[in-house]
Symmetry: C2
Subunit: 269 residues, 2 copies
């Protein structure tokens, strides 16, 4: 489906179908390019005792942790993001951390669900990557069918209780004129990381080797281009690892929650 | 006057007073910082035979030539910019070009006025410099009390009839994070040059030596900063010199037309 046939209703139907497939165990794959136009979210599930500090952390660090929804304790539903979203089943793959250490990946978490679990859904750069592509400045990783290159930095997050550490950033290379346009385009999407944090010399933000991302894939920065760095949704995952809650469940990277929201609805300008 | 006492009405009164002083010959100085909040304009006056092509040139090159007003042929008034603006007297200093060559500077042009003169008023970076200062990222030249450094480039303007040539740009050095903010701030002002065209290596846009501006003052780019380049209102002046109309009258650089418009009224977002 594309062109005039592809309406917001079509996108939402597609998104519900993706969630249904995830729920039934038919889909365990990454969600890139599924249901174009639909907001996909990063997920973090924490016990209530840890949730207040994590909420404060997200509020204090909106660039890496733009909050789209917070559930009621123990309630697996996310009505703010869609009618029928059950966070226990609707992700293609989950990742479970115990005491900050990755324990296992699983297809649903009904057996792990606790009455005190609070779900956080954070905006994801898939949304602004789509906007960049629509603006005819497609990010290189999309063109190459790769994940974004992501790097640990020395940019300190504002801490909240046990949640502290440094930002992870994603990188997209652009010529300066296109970088200016990319800054404009992504400024419209503060709910999905917004404008870049930085561009230029990677060493300035503590990245030693641009050819060795800490997460994701590697791709070249050509002569005449500058690397442009956006705050990344992997940041909270790294922060949670440091905080070592007894249990935390996230999406498996790139296996996102599909919502009923449209990227176009997130644009502020 | 400042703070709560300084209203839009105060700014407009101040602007009218500046025009009155220019009209009476009491003010022949540069207009930087006179009537804060008020839109100041670049001026070019051409015979009607040349005006249609120049209008097309401005329309085709809105970054260096953002048109705020075009007069009726022979009419010295500019009602779009203010009630009482007489372009023959209301600039502090004029510059007269004959056959593209600078001829003389003068305080008023009543004696030179022709029935076929068309006045063009173009937006000026004074407006967005004010916005940058208000955003707490003041351009260095303002902090040092200097004019912007301006450079000829190899960026080709879209030509219209005899009007052709390359862009002149102004340069403001910023750290990358501040440059991103400066791109956001100036994007709100497309009527006064808008977002930058380029940042980074000056050689890429044909600037051989950043320490030797072609116009204006020189100031340093410190380590950790990038030079950021905006299209500049000196461009039309250079273009007019190349086109060699029999007569053209402009403002003397930095001796601008003060209008009754507010910078805040030009912001699009």
């Amino acid at each position: 489906m594309s062109g005039n046939d592809y309406t917001p209703d079509t996108a939402r139907q597609l998104s519900r179908e993706v969630r249904r497939q995830a729920r039934e165990g038919e889909l365990t794959d990454i969600t890139l390019n599924l249901a174009p136009g639909i907001v996909q979210g990063n997920v973090a599930i924490l016990p209530k005792d840890w949730a207040a500090d994590f909420l404060k952390f997200c509020w204090a660090n909106p660039r890496p942790c733009p909050l789209l929804a917070v559930s009621e304790p123990g309630d697996p539903m996310l009505p703010r993001l869609g009618d029928d979203i059950d966070i226990r089943t609707d992700l293609p793959m989950y990742r479970v951390f115990r005491d900050g250490v990755m324990d296992t990946d699983m297809q649903d978490i009904r057996n792990l669900w606790q009455d005190d679990f609070v779900t956080f859904v954070l905006g994801c750069s898939f949304s602004f990557d789509e906007a960049l592509r629509d603006a005819n400045i497609p990010p290189r990783h999309l063109q190459l069918g790769l994940s974004t290159a992501m790097y640990r930095t020395n940019i300190e997050a504002i801490s909240a209780g046990p949640f502290k550490g440094t930002y992870v950033v994603s990188m997209r290379p652009y010529k300066p004129a296109d970088a200016i346009r990319a800054i404009q385009v992504t400024s419209r999407f503060p709910n999905v990381h917004g404008a870049p944090l930085y561009f230029g010399d990677p060493a300035e933000i503590g990245i030693r080797d641009i050819t060795k991302p800490d997460f994701g894939d590697v791709y070249p920065v050509y002569a005449g281009e500058v690397p442009v760095f956006w705050a990344c949704g992997v940041t909270p995952q790294v922060i949670i690892e440091h905080a070592k809650p007894p249990i935390c469940i996230t999406h498996k990277p790139s296996h996102m929650l599909l919502t009923d929201l449209l990227n176009a609805e997130l644009a502020v300008l």
